[in-house]
Amino acid sequence: AELTLAHYLPPNHELQVGAAEPLAQELAKATNGAVTIKIYPSGELGAGPTQQYTRALEGIADITIGLTGSDAVPMPRSLMLEMPGLFDTPREAVDVIWDNMDAFAEDFKRTQLLALFPNSPAALVMTRPVRSPEDLAGLNIRTSSAIGAAMVGAWGANAVTMPANDLYNAMQTGVVDGALIGIDGVNAFRLHEVATNVVTNLPSNVTMFFVTMNRESYAALSEDERAKLMAVAGRELSMKGADAFVASGDEAKANILATEGSSLDVLTDDERAAFSARLDGLADKIIADLSASSKVDLMDVYQQINK
């Protein structure tokens, strides 16, 4: 069988190179070429991130890659993984996720989940130095999620939403003073050219990615093929996704260091604590809001992953 894998990212994106292509190769190898994957990048089978879950659900493609937070279909349980301060590296997140998969499975139940993993925790990519929440007071910070906006607000800044493509321009001209964004995003949008300070080791949030498969397509595989697919998917594929983001984060850091006038500021643990202190009680409030809007009791999920 030839399976189709569709995503909306460019063909040179780290997930295509670091996750989608290796998945295709390993599956073909494991099944001796009986099951292959043809990849359609760049939204060839459908543009943009909001419809990726639906595309797998309806069989537009057999497999799709999407963002849990940007999909039109809400995935409230996996959104708990984006709560502030949970993870410092994508790899540790993948372990937590797959050790507690029962907590998120409901979000994907209409499809067969193949991978769930985060990018690197968000950094503050700024046009001025920031070492404490006081330095952020009154600044305009771009963020793309409700949780990110709540964090930015708790630190005393104004949350601004805008398309990521506009960010470079907006930072250059002071429309925003910075962004709370995964450090891998620095590469994608060339932010090292406009940022003076990239602040890491924050009690930060991640962005969750899913790889999911149409149920009928999954059922159409033989039992043996399904086993071989899940052996290369699952935690295995999630680690690949996480590693792809680590690699692109490392590249971003190298770019920042190589660019004159932009510095990589790793917060000390004391400085980090000051940011954490401002987030006290924020989780409860976000969870209460999200539970109300999604009609799911998310506190259980949060407590299970935040042990």
Binding site: V73, G138, S145, A149, N158, A159, T161, S293
Partner: protein
């Protein structure tokens, strides 16, 4: 225009289509003003409308389909006239009929799918990322305007044999 459909019905259709299209333009104007106001408050007061993105997203989603009935009824969609210009009358009738039939099929498909999606969005709570605004109204507007436009094409198709000037 002598035809099989009473003049009062045609005039009603026309007014309803005009009203929808008018609403569409007026809502676009509102979105323009909200966006411009956001620029001004940001520059002079450092205030941004949180979730403006979400509001515009829902707004434009609702707005763009509202003028579909009038656009379809007035035959203002982009089409290629090159054969039509030189076609004999009988062929023109045929071409207009084919156009309406294709339009009816496509519009009905959109309407039918939008109905399903409205149900799904309602059941699963599909909503915007920041303000959790429901996507249901967008699908409802698409359903109504697509079915309405398909119905207009049916009316036009029924009138076709009675049309003198084509």
């Amino acid at each position: 225009m002598p035809n099989s459909v009473p003049q009062s019905v045609l005039s009603f259709i026309d007014r309803l289509g005009q009203l929808f299209a008018w609403l569409s333009g007026a809502l676009i104007l509102v979105l323009v003003l909200v966006s411009a106001a956001n620029v001004i408050t940001r520059y002079f007061f450092g205030i941004t409308v949180f979730g403006l993105f979400d509001i515009l997203q829902i707004g434009v989603g609702i707005v763009i389909f509202l003028a579909l009935p009038l656009c379809t009824w007035k035959d203002e969609h982009v089409s290629v006239d090159v054969v039509y210009e030189f076609a004999p009358r009988w062929l023109r009738y045929l071409m207009l009929a084919v156009s309406d039939i294709v339009a009816i099929c496509v519009l009905a498909a959109i309407g039918w799918r939008a109905t399903t999606m409205a149900g799904t969005a309602l059941e699963f709570g599909d909503s915007t990322a920041l303000l959790s605004i429901s996507y249901v109204p967008i699908w409802v507007v698409i359903t109504i305007t697509s079915y309405f436009s398909a119905a207009l094409c049916v009316v036009r198709l029924a009138m076709l044999p009675f049309r003198q000037r084509i």
